[in-house]
Amino acid sequence: MYKLWASILKDTKILLRDKVGLALIFGMPVLLVIIVTSIQNSAFQMVNKNKLTTVLCNKDTGVASKQFIAALDKVGLLNLIPVPAINSEKDIKQLVREKGAMIAILIPPDFSQNIHDKAKNVSIKALESFGLPADSTGKNITSTPVTLYYDPVLQDAYRFSIEGAIQGALQLTGSSETLKQLYASLNDKPLPDSTERELLGSQSPINEVPLSRNQRDVPNATQHNVPSWTIFAMFFIILSLGGSVVREKRSGSFIRLKTLPTPFWVGLLSKQLTYLVVTFLQAVIICCIGIWLFPHIGLPGLKLPTDTLALIVVTIACGWCAVSYAICIGVFAETQEQANGFGAMSIVILAAIGGLMVPSFAMPASFHTISKVSPLHWCLQAYYELFLKDGTLANVLPNVLSLILIAIIFQALTLWGLRRKNLI
């Protein structure tokens, strides 16, 4: 026991004197979680609060285009900046740049006329299908579409949202015009505004309910990002721990320890316990920041899962897996540069395939199986189960067992590597 205590003391002192290592272990993840959550929170809020600046060029002078613009404005996704009618695409580009916009919408000069003609055609067909007399002078319509210009930087997901909003506004404008035409044909008088509002405004609302196990708030950027980047931070201890193992190997300390009457597992256990505490502290610090700092900087506060024991068990399992991986890499790396370079790159790759950067469900089908190889996948699934679905220990047990199995594999590889290199 005294040997283990002396080893833990040694490992702790070495860690505390490695200022760069400490900054990487604690400082970088804290910065990362604040920055990424702020950015993603902004993206989460884009639909609700942060409107996308949009140049609007209306070449039409009719009523339908005004209705279309009003409908588009009501969606709340865009901050519309009207500009004078312009002709060339070059001018549009120029205006988009000047206004700092990401997209531009061009309404063609015959927009209202086309809406009107289409509505008239539909109403004629409707009256005919009811067996009522109708003015059958319907036109063949060749309409000029509404054009959407977008900055290539704009991600597809946003562009599709904007397209959906435009389609919705177009449908509303078309429906309104069709309704007016039908009403006028049947009643020989214009549709009253109140009736129009009643008819068009009777859309059913959508009730959104997160599928948590208990009653919880709607998930937000904080609930998504704090677990993700905590896991990332835990695995990034490889930069300190992996390097420390390489240093000990290269300095000959491992060899010297081999000549002493203490079994080598004491040294391995000491490193694991010391760095397990470090990973636990990382999780505690990042959670504290989520709970207490985030609300002060305009981010949603972190809500901890109700099953605290499950949270502790998952954090220990994730930490042990991260520590086992770091030691394993340290044993196989020949130099500190190799350990740091390979360690950092492999964590980024494992994070990517584990679903930390892009959600697993959005990955190609072939990646669904590959992602299970990444320990970060199991960590993330376990944390999401707790932070987003408010699961219990029973719900995360399969993930915890998978993490323990992966950690045991890393430990076995470590022992094999140490034996192969004649270090134990």
Partner: protein, 249 residues
């Protein structure tokens, strides 16, 4: 009363895995308790391999190596309490102070807290490291680091002390201090097994020596005996006479 040898090597055959050829084939060597035994040879002769075999860092494919009567092949960790090892590399933690290093390695050598404190005080005093006991070793000069390296090897008062180039890269004062301390240890009963390229230092320290070349012991005995046998006046001349003047890799 029959006393066991400090080291008893019998018919040892050793080859590194994945390397062609054997390093040692039927090697026999005895080192008596209380000896100051030097192992010399040109580069690549197998001195470090022999040291690693004697300390249990490597195990022979055939034959036996006994340390104070205990076969190292049993891999019994209790044997490791009997000897100390001072490797050529500065094998300690540069981020720690000398006292912290001694505390850690002392614990691993099986000492309790009080004994470690007592031995740390003694060793830091003897090796002139008292004033810097709380400074990180990475700030030390080469000579000071060598003294820390030595102190760690002797913290548990070993019966046999293996030293691989213990004075490499140090100034005359440090070399003198280290050699004096090693002689003092030997006077107190510690067997020294020592390798070095410093032949004048070996003449001063060793009473017995073996010269090895290409995995074989080409000369063994007391320095005076060997000088007389080969009719030479210095260890350097003896060395060149036996191992030749051609370059070694």
């Amino acid at each position: 009363m029959v006393t066991v040898d400090a080291i008893d090597i019998q018919n040892v055959r050793f080859a590194y895995p994945r390397n062609e050829g054997e390093i040692y084939d039927h090697l026999n060597l005895n080192i008596k308790q209380g000896d100051r035994f030097g192992v010399f040879g040109p580069n690549g002769a197998g001195k470090t391999t022999l040291m690693n075999l004697m300390t249990g860092l490597l195990y022979p494919q055939e034959g036996s190596i006994k340390l104070l009567g205990h076969n190292t092949a049993t891999r019994n960790k209790e044997i490791n309490k009997l000897f100390g090892f001072v490797p050529q590399e500065l094998s300690f933690y540069k981020e720690l102070t000398p006292a912290e290093n001694l505390h850690f390695f002392g614990a691993w050598a099986g000492l309790d807290g009080n004994t470690i404190m007592k031995r740390t005080r003694e060793l830091l005093h003897i090796l002139g490291l008292e004033d810097v006991r709380n400074k990180q070793v990475q700030t030390f000069s080469g000579g000071m680091k060598r003294r820390v390296n030595l102190a760690i090897g002797v913290i548990h008062n070993p019966k046999v002390l293996f030293l691989d180039e213990p004075t490499v890269g140090v100034d005359v004062q440090t070399r003198h201090a280290i050699i004096s301390y090693l002689k003092e240890l030997n006077n107190n009963g510690t067997t020294l097994v020592y390798t070095s390229h410093q032949l004048n230092e070996a003449e001063d320290l060793c009473n017995e020596m073996a010269l090895i070349d290409e995995g074989k012991i080409v000369a063994k005995g007391s320095i005076n005996e060997l000088l007389e046998q080969h009719n030479t006046s210095s260890l350097e001349n003896l060395f060149l006479k036996i191992t030749g003047k051609s370059y070694r890799n």
